[in-house]
Symmetry: C2
Subunit: 478 residues, 2 copies
């Protein structure tokens, strides 16, 4: 099926594409981290005065969102949003003007660094797929690659590979990226692209992780959200019922997310008075929204209930942590994690509940900002919260584990968080590739069966109620 | 892309397919194990007399192979061989007579149990794909499913799902199964089948492992070739060069395997004298070959150099073991493993080398037996041996690991065996799905990057020299 490998230029092209995207991804992560650390340092330095502290907490996000919105408005409005709905359209054969131009690349890369650096609940999977597609298109214009990109169908092939590379360099998930590229394709997937996707994605993901070894002092190639669950007795077969239940509620949550997202956008659009105000003051909306979201997460305020002083990356890592938060004797490291999610006046269940609800609504609002942004990560962390609630509840009900063997294996609430994250993301994006992406992100395949089960169920449930978020956005735009 | 889920019958059908295949697979494994344990018990009971012991070692294989050959000869000659080349032909739209009939199913299931129970170096992946395809076809003839199977293209869809289920129930590898079904497809893969494959494969794999929990006392759902590598520091980035080198030699080994396999078959066919003898005595060839192979593996004889008293499953498990065989202080468990592969007069390197070479040639010879059989597992275990040699050599050269951090992380020879197994299998079958299958079989994703790298390289190298074993068989048959 893989034809001849004499097409050396194609392989060199795919290799170059993978390496280029790895470098871009690494640099972007570096930029995003710079913004996030800058904000945190500023906030911690000004800890003697609450008003100053509040000001320091909100000012950087507002400025960054404003900068991102202004940049894409001036340079390339095509860079706004995720990019996956448009990729789906292009892969159906429709040509979208300037969507794959160098201007759009520039605006999307810089704009995404700013919008993710602002700490808003925004994702990067979709934009990375878009960026990889532009890089693929622009690379193909170079003289040495010109011959391989001559006809239209070849162009489609390269976009499928680019999709795989985008995911591979975003989450270090090459296999998940290839599956994602199949799911983005409309009706028929060329089997040849499967091999090409693997080729480009593997080199992309490898080089992306190697850069972390060379420049960030990692000792070896590591997954992005590494988990540390035991593999000796991961779960009792009876727990599969609970995992299936997580699938059901995740499907409902996913469908409501898509529904409310569409309703919010349509309401915004139909409200003429609001519209005319926003039209006149183009940057009022970004300022208000980013100010509102930053205020809600302000750590001394409401933020104390929703782990507001953790970055998205740390929120996910702690939600995936391998110990129960409802026990009593913590090690110093565990205690540090729990304190982020616990609060003397509420407790972890109330906090986790507030976290899920807040993330749900703030993600919907944030995704309407006119900046480059995706939906994957916000939905993912909300799902992790939902799963963690179920896991901690299970742990409370069965403190010694489901009685099965005499050794009393315990419940692993972190695994429930992983399953929940995958199931909700699967329901919103209506993909199964998320199973593989999650496995590659955590570096553990131990829970593949629960993850697959929950994702399939959440997909079916959400499918009965709503279209995917990408199709929903496409409906709105039509 | 996943369309409506209102097609409840399709889902019920896919669910039934998955469960049915899980039960068949479980019963077959039980039957195969019965044969293998019976032979071992007989052999161990007669340990006072070497001639009797030799007789007991060879008689059961000869009888089982003979039974298998006679059964498929009388009932359904379509059951001979792997089935994947024919599946590829059918998925191209060609109708092969009686290939998906109930008679063939019966012959293939019983024949495969006998041929695998004989301990010959034969595989089961291909036959399982074939069996799943027949089950899918036969299920669709039931009255309740009749409506969904009306037109031709629907039939193709069901076969793609069946392919995924076959692999899922063979190795408990649902994701790898879906990828395999893409690779078996000729040119364009219907994206809808992707979802259906996942659905059926997940339920199949889950139920397959649940049966082991319910009837074999497993405590939880376990991978088939579970590994226990540490995930803290799996490999030094520099080791990627060695993994790539394994990819290169695996590609060469894979190509020579395909080449010599074809040459052997063509030589057998062109030798008219030999042919006329074999034609007259139809069961002479199976008897001679199974006698020869059983004799070579006779443990007190040559078998002592090639771990002849281990089953294929145990050979793979020990080759994947997580400690170096060339150190000195072993725990009792480790010592037990090493003794199987060590020999006072030779040592592990000579033994491993002999094991690889013997498995290489015996697999080629065995695959010409007129019984149901696949190529995946024999090639897989040979690759594991090749990888282990490289791993143990690395361990000898760098007994304290590649100096990178101060903590001196050690080389993990078992991981080299996993990479080698994947790379050689990938080269022979020319698939990338083997990466995911290996990850699901071992239950550890820690080495996904080395595995992907080695498999891609071995695929490219083998692709420059030879077609895949499936295409090679199709060329011979034409």
């Amino acid at each position: 099926t893989f034809g001849k490998f004499g097409e050396d230029w194609v392989h060199f092209y795919l290799f170059t594409l993978g390496i280029t995207m790895a470098v871009i991804s690494f640099l972007m992560d570096w930029g995003i981290n710079l913004c996030l650390t800058g904000r945190k340092t500023l906030y911690e330095t000004l800890n003697h005065h609450i008003a100053l502290q509040y000001f320091s907490w909100i000012i950087l996000p507002i400025l960054l969102v404003l900068f991102s919105a202004a940049l894409v408005h001036i340079v390339a409005p095509q860079a706004i949003g995720s990019g996956i709905p448009e990729m789906k359209t292009i892969l159906r054969g429709v040509i979208l003007k300037d969507y794959l131009s160098f201007r759009t690349l520039f605006a999307k890369v810089i704009g995404l660094v700013a919008s993710l650096g602002s700490g808003m609940p925004l994702g990067k999977e979709g934009p990375f797929v878009h960026i990889a597609s532009i890089v693929a298109t622009q690379l193909a214009k170079l003289r040495i690659f010109k011959s391989i990109y001559e006809n239209q169908s070849r162009g489609m092939e390269m976009l499928a590979a680019a999709c795989a590379v985008g995911v591979a360099c975003c989450f270090a998930a090459p296999v998940g990226g290839v599956l994602m590229s199949i799911e983005v394709t409309s009706v028929y997937f060329a089997v040849r692209d499967y091999w090409r996707g693997f080729f480009a994605a593997t080199f992309g993901a490898t080089f992306f992780r190697l850069l972390a070894v060379w420049f960030q002092g990692h000792e070896t190639l590591k997954p992005v959200f590494r988990t540390y669950f035991g593999s000796e007795f991961p779960y009792d077969p009876l727990e599969l019922i609970i995992f299936a239940f997580i699938g059901v509620i995740s499907g409902l949550i996913g469908a409501s997310f898509v529904f409310l997202h569409r309703q919010y956008v349509l309401w915004m659009r139909s409200n003429k008075k609001l519209n005319s105000i926003l039209q006149k003051n183009r940057f009022m909306y970004p300022i208000i929204i980013s100010w509102f979201i930053a205020s809600v997460t302000f750590p001394p305020g409401f933020g104390q209930f929703i782990a507001g002083n953790l970055t998205t990356h740390d929120q996910v890592l702690t939600l995936f942590s391998n110990f129960s938060w409802s026990k009593y004797n913590f090690t110093p490291g565990e205690s540090f994690v729990v304190k982020k999610w616990d609060n003397p006046s509420t407790g972890i269940f109330v906090n986790l509940g507030l976290y899920c609800i807040t993330t749900f609504f703030l993600s919907i609002i944030a995704s309407t900002l006119p900046v480059p942004s995706g939906n994957f990560v916000p939905v993912f962390k909300m799902g992790a919260g939902v799963g963690r609630i179920v896991g901690e509840a299970m742990q409370l009900c069965f403190p010694k584990g489901l009685k099965f063997s005499e050794e009393n294996w315990k419940i692993v609430p972190g695994a429930y968080a992983v399953v929940g994250a995958a199931a909700v993301t699967g329901a919103v994006t209506r993909t199964v590739s998320v199973c593989v992406i999650v496995v590659e992100m955590t570096g553990q395949i131990t829970y593949i069966i629960p993850i697959l089960l929950a994702v399939l169920i959440s997909n079916v449930i959400a499918g009965l109620l709503q279209p995917s978020i990408f199709d929903s956005i496409a409906i709105i735009k039509r």
